[in-house]
Amino acid sequence: MTQVNRVAAAANQHINRNRPLTFIFNGKTYQGYEGDTIASALLANGVDVIGRSFKYSRPRGIITCDSQEPNAIFQVGSTQATTIPNPRATQTELYQGLTASSTNGWPNVDFDLMAGLGKIGGAMMPPGFYYKTFMYPQSLWMSYEKLIRKGAGLGCSPQQPDPDEYDKMHHHCDVMIVGAGPAGLAAALAAAETGARVIISDEQNEFGGHLLCSTQAIDGQLPSLWVKDIVDKLTTMGNVLLLPRSTVFGYYDHNLVGINERRTDHLGEHVTTSSRQRVHKVRAKQVILATGAHERPLVYGNNDVPGCMLANAVSTYINRYGVVPGNELVLMTTNDNAYKTAIDWHQAGRKVVAIVDTRTTSNGELVQQAQALGIKVLFGQGVINVKGSKRVKGVEVAAINAENHSVSSAISHYSCDTVASSGGWSPVIHLSSHTGSRPVWNDDIAGFVPGETVQQQHICGGLSGVYALSNVISDGFKTGSTAAQDAGKGDGSYASILPLINDPQEDPAMALFHIPHSKPTSRAPKQFVDYQNDVTAAGIELANREGFESIEHVKRYTALGFGTDQGKLGNINGMAITAKSLNKTIPETGTTIFRPMYTPTTFGALAGADVKHLFDPARFSAMHKWHLDNGAEFEDVGQWKRPWYFAKTGETMQQALERECLATRNSVGILDASTLGKIDIQGKDAREFLNRIYTNPWSKLAVGKCRYGVMCKEDGMVFDDGVTACLGENRFIMTTTTGGAAGVLQWLELWHQTEWPELEVYFSTVTDHWSTMTISGPNSRKVLEKICDVDVSNDNFRYMDWIEATVAGVKARIFRISFTGELSFEINVQANYGMHTWQAVMAAGQEFDITPYGTETMHILRAEKGFIIVGQDTDGSVTPQDLDMDWVVGKKKEFSFIGKRSWTRFDNKRDDRKQMVGLKPKDPKFVLPEGAQIVFEKDQPIPMTMVGHVTSSYYSACMGYSFALAVVKGGISRKGQSVFLPLSDGTTVEAEICSPVFYDPKGDRQNV
């Protein structure tokens, strides 16, 4: 197929005719050029229908040339891994082999079966129709919904994981400029000339903004030369970062600007040389918004027939891409500016049927120019309806009365294949709205401009309602230097000389949005306001009639502005229609809120490199490699990977656990305990501090001794526990739970820094400094003796003592503490020696068949002893008393330590609180599920009265029966009684409440 609409090369064009590119759309092969978007290439090839509308399945064509496009939303990509749902054809650059298809239309966009349904059903589908139906019978809704969902959505999600990578970069600058049109470029140059650090980004592939489609001379030359000149200057300056293809998707508090740079999308589908997209997070001292203005279409009958376009888009296709998207043009405008489009069309050698100007007259230079070219101008009239279905065939034009919204003459018909419309321009206020600033209406330009803000923000050019190019550029220079000055650079003046520009004199524009039809809006042909969701003028008026008067209600009821263009094209028209129908002004009606994303932003880019193995840091101990090599399965504990159990070949988990438990109880086991938090506490008030933080007393703990402690929050609930050892008169080392380590250190610092700064004490984390291995079991001493230079006999090294020694040639601290109830030694060495020492211990233990065990065996062994795990046996609502651990509460401590006061509150004094007990299932082989709920009475109707739950539960290989820890209401005084556990499989099992200490209740084994 030939590019029927491609016209002769003109100087200002931005396509490379020497690089033709082949692409596929809806299965057909076409050609375009480098520099084309899919949209320009499709228009060049004369493709009219590019999709079907969402609700009514109407044929749709390309309307715009930029981020406003509501219709040309495609599926791009050729594989299930690389496909991209919903990119806009107008913003997608062509590359060789690009594959795209429409997102709606079945079996295809030219022949769509749903269209018939759309026509019939359309009448029954006004806004909010689904709130009014599909209700009866109740039971059928889920089936109705299935049907509704069948029609949902535009593109398809990929079905396979993304092969591309993404990353992010942080930047800091004095002046960040958003938009590289004439205003932004001038601002960048002025700011950069002061030496300020400048970043300028634009979402288009080339800088130049509006000038890319303009033919207006600057300094007597093509505007692209002026652009090139400035870009060249900026590029060589060293203090400027230029970011093309970079959308500022969000403007956040404290001048944070989020930018998504598309780095490889224009090169092809899966390019491996760099990340596909990169998010830049810019902290700018000053932000200049130079985002320009978007042209508004007019709202008229059947204005969605392919061939209906924005005037400026038509000019852009002609001037930038060398594409004239039709043969016979009717232009409807409310302003002089759009006359350019007719002139461009005419100069491209095609026929302008007429300019329909809604104003009664205009004498502006462009009007005169057009008339001089022999173009027919019809004043005081409007295009009230379009004929045609898959392409415009003609228009109905009539005199209109905007005041009372009526048609005031007979209708004349013109045949044409293209209708361009311009209702004026709307400043691109989106970014300024992101930080909470509300826009204000400006009557002069009939548009909203940014309102008050607390950000360090400047606006210039089209965004501030300045449209004449000479003013735009001088505004840019001025704003650039002012912003630099505000950032502490330069004196506010600028060196650059204003270029010579001749701006055509323009007559005032008319504030008109909605073209009347001879019938009332409700009966007129559909007049689309927001194309993507098929929102019509009639729909908006209906919403108003039904009482949805707030513009936010209109949005939500009709879906106005909900689409992927977020109302760029239709919002202001919708607001104007609402205002009119409610007899209000547009500023009274107000806008809805523009929020990030400015244009849709790839999830992958927002996540950056924080995916897969980098999603969250995985933390490892110094012995991790050993665990890997020895078959460990790992458990996630916080960010740590801890060995869970070490299965030998062919073993089930349960077998491994039984082996590990028995080995430890009968001989010796070894656990990597390096992940426990360790805090070095030094200072003369360390003891006093511990007294205040822990529930038990610390005043008398002698050097060389260890003690177990429990910490509560001020509400009296346990939140961490561990052993603290006295290293010196004024020095302690505290251990915390693995998951609690960071929190506990912050907790200590909080109290010290905010409440008791007078206490002389310092805290430093030493968690990572120490590798910790616990050897536990009757033979543990024998193992240690082989490699330790100190007498570790019971006489010399008592339970709950710690000593310094050399182990395997390495300086070590050994704590004689036990979490298993067995004779245990916790060996701590500097972590660089962790692996060495571990291996030495393993070698020494070989003759005793030393057995590595993981967290699960550790949990079983400690549970047999009734030791709690904070976070498993407690849940933030458990006091030490509830745990039957009143012994860990100091009764005579002078200071009212953290948590104490709360215990005397009403609820904490109840004697039917849930208390920690042991449970013995009646069936000694049955392991109660952890999390099973407990009831006192077996045969209760639902809802049952639950009195507690199982917190830990295991089969004990050592004891030969299963057992559990649980919390039970008033459980401590119910020992010996039966409870019942109704399980999720419908069975109920019985268990007996007992002491939580199952194994070696006297504690002899750890004391030998």
């Binding site: 404290h254 902290r283 001020e714 912050q746 820094q753 905010t754 700064p757 009212s896 104490k900 006061r901």
Partner: protein
């Protein structure tokens, strides 16, 4: 995302270096045991939660590990000042119903 001045590191840092730590200037009662349950509950749970100026604590988690105070507008998110622990704010709002 906020940009916060750490009075100890003496410069502006990204929000992600910090952790918010709630309302500032809540003094722990010297003798909790003499308080009524109501008074104790007040200390534990009741907060000013103002719409407007708020004095709040932040921890420079990844920087100097120090807690400090910030006066911030909870509507505009503007930060008026940062000051060290133990110091008083210089920017305050008089709020109705507050002692």
């Amino acid at each position: 995302m906020l940009l916060i001045h750490c009075p100890y590191c003496e410069e502006m840092r990204e929000e992600e270096e910090f952790s918010p730590a709630g309302q500032a200037h809540i003094v722990r009662p010297l003798d909790p045991e003499v308080l009524s349950d109501e008074e104790w509950a007040r200390y534990l749970f009741f907060r000013k939660n103002p719409r407007g100026l708020h004095h709040e604590m932040w921890l420079h988690t990844h920087g100097c590990r120090k807690y400090f105070n910030v006066t911030r507008n909870t509507v505009t998110y503007q930060i008026m000042e940062s000051y060290k622990m133990g110091q008083q704010p210089s920017v305050t709002a008089s709020e109705k119903g507050q002692s």
